[in-house]
Structure formats: C-alpha cells, structure tokens
C-alpha cells in the first residue's frame, strides 16, 4: 500500500528528517457535526419502516375503529356511539362466528398433533417414509379454491364420500348441509390442506434431535410411546410452540377461501367466521360501519390471542 493513502495516522518525516506526529485536522465543529448525524442516523434509518407501519397499518386501523362509531346508510357519517356494537352482539350470525373462533382454538391441538405424529413416523422410518414425505406436502401447494372445489365434489350428498360410507353400511352424512357437521368438515379440509407446512417444520426440528438419546432410551428398553413421550416431545418443545403459533394464525386468518367455496357461511349460518362476516356485511349488505365494528372486535380478539401466545413463548424460552 502506498504511504500517501494513509496520511492521517502515519508519522511523516519533515525536511530535517525527525519524525513528528501529524496534527489532527478535524476541528471541534466537525466533531460536533458528526455526533449529531450519528445521533440522527438511527431515526433516519428507522423512518421508512415507521412510516410504512404508521401510514399503512396504524392509520387505517385508527380509521376503522373511528368508522365503527359511525352509522350506515341514512346515518352515514353520523356519530352513533355504540349502536354498531349493540347491533353486532344482537346478530346471531356474529355470535355464531365468534363461537366458531372458540371452536377453532379448541381444535388447535388436533391440528398440531396430526403433522407432529406423521412427522414422527417419517422420522422413525416407517416403510415408505420417503413417499409419504412428498405426498403429505402435496396439498400445501394447492390453492384453497381448488381444494374447496375438490372437496365440494367429494363431500356432496351423492358424492364419493357418502358412496364409501354406504358401501360399508353406514347412512349418508350431509357433510356440508348439516349445521352440526359442516364446520368440522371445513376445518378438517383446512387441516388436510395445510398440515404439510407444519410437517416440514417438524421434520426440521427432528433433524436437530440428538439421536444418541433415542438410542440410549431404546437400549434401556423404552417402548415407542415412551420414547415419543419422554425423549422426542421434550426435545421438540420449541418446534411445537412455533407450529402452535403459526397454525393458530393460519386457522384464524386463512379459512376465507375454503368457506367461500365450500359453504358460503351456511348452512344456517353455522360456518361463519369473523372474516367472512366482515366481508359479507361490507360488500354484500353495504354496511361498512357495521363491518368496521366487527373488524375492531376481531382485532381485539387477535390482540388477546397474540399477547397470550407471546407470553407462553417467552415463558417457554426461559425454561431452555
């Protein structure tokens, strides 16, 4: 490297040949300028993200909450206080949709256990595990609309599912026409369609498991259920938590397509979810203010669920 390129620190010789330390050129004012720009830099760097969140997230959110206190139709633009919320909680459709959210939370363990169990079998190399690994993932690449259309045909009253039941001597089930069954049918299809992703996450978790622990357990004569219960599940606790969170979010936010195609909220309004209700009131019924109120309630529910999940994750993180 040529010496001219490092003039600041390198001692230079004057004409007499005695080395003298070079004086620092920076003045006091320059140093103050730098520290100010250093102080401002983080704000500047954060600004785009903060602006995007503020303009495209928080502001619309605030508008939505605001609109939920205004009226629809003739009362458009007038402040109506809590009227929309009263209407909301008087509407059996909205109550049904909130009840269905509760049902989804209750069904969450099933939605997590299925990919967990299947991933365990693949990890334990059951015969044909290579085939299953790709087959299980396959539905995850299909769009909900296509899946809904397929299952509409399969679950039709005179469709193959009932033909199969008939062949083994069981009566036909009105999968999508019985209000007591339709929601389970749709959730079942949703789980079938999405468990591939969770399965992949589980398999990634298995890759980090210590094989010697399992071998040791086997040498000690532990049965398969005991290996699963005492070695595999504890080793995978972080993975399980992650899958629980992502599955919950998936169930609450991405069932719209399936509902739209498979049941349209019916029969008897039994398969409404808040999302679908909001879409229905805003677009089909022309009641955007009521839809805003429903969105606000949904936001509140999601906030509670989200904070609860964060709390659970943090506690689990501390145990590690």
């Amino acid at each position: 490297m040529p010496s001219t390129s490092t003039p600041l620190r390198a001692p230079v010789r004057d004409r007499s040949g005695t080395p003298t330390p070079r004086r620092r050129v920076r003045s006091g004012r320059g140093a103050a300028g730098r520290s100010r720009s250093e102080r401002l830099a983080p704000y500047l760097l954060v600004a785009p993200a903060a602006l995007i969140i503020g303009v495209f997230r928080l502001y619309p959110l605030a508008l939505g909450v605001n609109f939920s206190f205004t009226g629809d139709g003739d009362r458009n633009g007038q402040a109506v206080g809590l009227d929309n919320y009263t209407a909301l909680f008087d509407d059996p459709l909205f109550i049904a949709s909130m009840r269905n959210v509760g049902l989804l939370v209750l069904l969450l363990p099933v939605a997590v256990a299925i990919p967990g169990l299947l991933a365990t079998f693949i990890y334990l190399r059951v015969p044909g595990h290579r085939v299953y690994r790709s087959v299980y993932f396959f539905p995850a690449v299909l769009s909900p609309v296509i899946i809904g259309a397929i299952f509409n045909l399969l679950l039709a009253f005179d469709g193959p599912a009932n033909a199969l039941l008939g062949a083994v001597g069981l009566g036909p089930v009105d999968w999508l026409g019985d209000p007591g069954i339709a929601m389970y049918a749709v959730v079942g299809v949703h789980i079938w369609a999405t468990f591939g992703m969770a399965l992949v996450v589980f398999l990634a978790g298995f890759a980090t498991l210590d094989v010697s622990l399992i071998d040791a357990a086997r040498v000690d004569g532990a049965s398969l259920p005991k290996v699963v219960r005492h070695v595999i599940v504890p080793g995978l606790s972080r993975t399980i938590q992650f899958v629980v969170v992502t599955t919950m979010i998936g169930m609450l936010t991405s069932m719209f397509g399936l509902l739209y195609v498979m049941t349209g909220g019916g029969p008897e309004g039994s398969t409404y979810l808040p999302e679908y209700y909001i879409w229905f009131q805003q677009g089909q019924m022309g009641r955007p203010a009521l839809a805003s109120a429903a969105s606000t309630v949904l936001f509140g529910v999601m906030l509670v669920v989200g904070l609860a999940q964060i709390a659970v994750l943090r506690r689990a993180g501390r145990e590690d």
């Binding site: 605030a62 633009g77 039709a156 026409g177 019916g266 029969p267 008897e268 955007p288 203010a289």
Partner: protein
C-alpha cells in the same frame, strides 16, 4: 413486550372516544369527459357479444365522438366491487343491476331516469323491478321470472298426459307419486345451499296460494306475514321436504348449478327455474330436447288464488348519480335496451328480452308458454323483499328443513326484518 401492549392500547384508546367522518366516503368522481365507463357481468360472455356490439353501434350513431368502455366484472363479486366503488364515490357512469333489492338498496347512488326514458315506457316491460319510491332507476334489458318447468318425457313414462299438468296441489302430489313410482325421479329438483331455493319456491308456488288481493298488497309493500296464505307457503316448503318430494341433501345442493343439473339429467320431474341467463328453457332444452320442456302455472293450493307468471325486470342498466353528463349516460342506457340490441341478446344468450315487440314464438313450447303468460304476469313475491330479509329468509329456510326452527318462529323473524327494512 408489556410496553408494546401498553403502546397499542394507548394508540387506540383515544380513538374510541370519537365517531367522526364516515365509513362510506363523500361523493365525487366518475368517468372522464369523453369516455363512459360501464360495469356489468355480461359483456365478457361470448353469448352477449352481438348484443353489446349492437348497443355500441346504436350509441355511436347518436354520439360519434364518445367512447364507451365496458368493464366486465365477475358476477359473484359484482355487488361487492360495486359497493366499494359507491362508497368511494368513484365508480362507473353506467352499471348493470339485478332488479329488486340489489337496486333498491343502492338508489342513493343512482340517478332517476324516468324523464329520459319516456319513449321506452310502452315498448319495454318489467319496470317495477327497477322502480323505487316512484322513480325509475334503470331500463330493463331482460325479464326474469320463475316458471315451473316440467319434464314431459318423465310424464309420458309415468303414463301421464304431458300436455295436461296438474292444476291443483293435490293432483300435483298424485302425479309426483306416480312419476316417482314409475321412473324413480324426484318430484322437485331443489338446491338451497345458497339459501336461494326458498326464494324460488315462494315466488313459484306462491301465486297458487295467495288470493289476487293479498298478492297485490304484498307487492305494494303491505305484507302480512301472519296471514294463513303466507303461512301455508312456508308450511308447504317444509311439507315438500318431509314428504320426500325433493332430491336428497337440499341444504348442501347448490342451486347454481347442481339443482339445474339434476333436472337436466332427468332425475327430477319439476324445477322452479328462471326465464333468462341460466337455469332456463334454453339450458333445459339442450339436455332434454326443447320439445320435452314444459311450463306449468302454479298448482292451486287455495281455490281463491289466480295463478299468474311471476316475473320482473331481470337485469337493467342504471346511471350513477356522480356521472358528469347525465343525458349522455341515459342515452347509452337507451341504446343498451334498443330493440335491435335486445333482439340479438334474445337470440344468442337465450334471454327473454324486456322488449315486448320481439317475436319469440319459434323457440319451442316452453318459450311460447312463457311469452304467452307475460301480459297477465305479476312481479315475483321475493323480489319485493329487501336484500337483508332475503338473506335472513335463506338462513331460516335451511333451519326449517333441518327442523331447528318452527314456521311460526321463522315468520315472526321475517316480519320483524321486513318491517325494519
């Protein structure tokens, strides 16, 4: 983390104190100066091509310098998109509507057209469906109604006279029994997954139940949901299911188009269908043969009733309230319902056009029967109801079939919704 939660609460809390602005935005906007924008769900169809071309040519003759842009929206999203456009006050200049509730719910955004359409009043039929509070908001393009279609081939197989369908409900039930016994076909093809089956049933069977005075009062807005006639219609809805007249799984069978597919396949002897678009004489004729598709008046349930063909204006074009030049937009509406354009629509799309001067006698017995009934026909019962009441009726009809609500309870809820709306 706790701090973040506090932050979000702090951000939202003050907003909760206010309720200002409006969820539906202020009115403004519209199409540009020399371009008219039309929204519909028809112009993309191959069968509607000649109709749109005729209408465009007619309009270009009158206003050579004005460009017309047709935007075809998907039908199942149409009112969603339109609702959003109306709320933002920036939509098309001219838009297609189904007659009845969908139009009446949005008259705030529409321009009264009666002054522009004076010359068409005689020639076109079906105005009631596009009229609200004495103003006309759209010009009818097609007529939509709910004739009861029957499969003449099944009648013949069962040893019945296909040219003499039952005139009374009892005779109708007897015929159905005979047909089911002989051919295995159900009496009705019925799909109520979307909750629309009940609407067709009400309008199709209702004319045989309600006496003319009550029928007219219902259409005029004086609806007595507790009257014996109205009660009887909903009882029949339940009885038909319990007596096994319908195909299996009514609540999970979609009307569009599984119900019509059942009738097309000859698996049911009757269907309450449509006059235009889909599920109509042209569709059925393609599967069963035009000569095998019959149309019958509603069987008499109440001797005091005088059955007539229930029909209304099916679809029609209206003008947005925010359009820049209302006269220009109204002229486009007139072109879209001109005789030449409607003739093309009738011939290619198989719609019963709103123009009474079109000759439709050459399209088979079902069409002839429908057209012959037009002069005495009346508006359909369900079209008089608001979108909200129809939605509730759809849900209640499913509950009636599964037995989770009684007829009395359902009628009580419907009366409350009807009076609120």
């Amino acid at each position: 983390m706790k701090r973040r939660a506090l932050w979000s609460t702090a951000l939202i809390a003050p907003l909760a104190l206010y309720g200002c602005g409006s969820a539906a935005g202020p009115d403004s906007g519209g199409g540009g100066g020399d371009t008219l924008v039309v929204w519909d769900w028809k112009s993309g169809d191959e069968t509607a091509k000649s109709y749109i071309e005729q209408a465009k040519a007619d309009f270009a003759e009158k206003h050579p310098g004005v460009e017309v842009e047709f935007v075809a929206q998907p039908f199942d999203q149409y009112y969603n998109l339109l609702g959003t456009a109306i709320q933002s006050g920036e939509g098309p200049d001219v838009m297609l509507f189904n007659g009845g509730g969908q139009l009446r719910d949005r008259t705030d955004a529409l321009l009264p057209l009666e002054d522009y359409l004076v010359e068409d009043m005689e020639r076109l039929a079906g105005w009631e469906a596009f009229t609200a509070d004495g103003h006309v908001y759209a010009a009818p393009v097609t007529l939509q109604g709910h004739p009861i279609y029957y499969n003449k081939a099944l009648y013949e197989q069962a040893g019945l006279d296909p040219e003499a369908p039952a005139a009374t409900w009892d005779a109708f039930l007897a015929n159905c029994e005979q047909i089911t016994e002989a051919t295995g076909a159900d009496c009705f093809a019925m799909g109520n997954k979307e909750g629309i089956g009940i609407q067709f049933f009400l309008s199709g069977i209702g004319p045989g139940v309600l006496a003319p005075a009550e029928y007219d009062a219902w259409i005029a807005g004086e609806r007595d949901w507790t009257s014996p006639g109205v009660r009887r219609i909903f009882e029949l809805w339940v009885e038909a299911e319990q007596a096994g007249l319908n195909n299996d799984g009514v609540n999970s069978t979609a009307m569009f188009n599984d119900e019509f597919a059942i009738f097309d396949a000859g698996e049911a002897a009757h269907v309450i269908g449509l006059m235009s678009d889909v599920g109509h004489w042209k569709d059925f004729g393609e599967f069963l043969g035009a000569e095998n598709v019959g149309v019958m008046p509603a069987p008499l349930v109440n001797p005091g009733a005088a059955p007539s063909l229930p029909y209304d204006g099916g679809i029609g074009y209206g003008v947005a309230e925010w359009t820049e030049d209302p006269e220009l937009a109204a002229d486009l509406v007139r072109s879209l319902s001109s005789t030449k354009a409607l003739e093309a629509f009738y011939a290619d799309a198989g719609a019963i056009a709103a123009d009474t001067t079109i000759d439709a006698s050459g399209a088979g017995p079902a069409t002839a029967a429908i057209v012959a009934e037009l002069p005495t026909g009346k508006p359909a019962l369900h079209v008089a109801l608001s979108a909200e009441t129809l939605e509730l009726m759809g849900r209640l009809s499913q509950q009636l079939l599964s037995g989770s609500v009684t007829v009395d309870d359902a009628l009580g809820q419907l009366a409350a919704s009807d009076q609120a709306g």
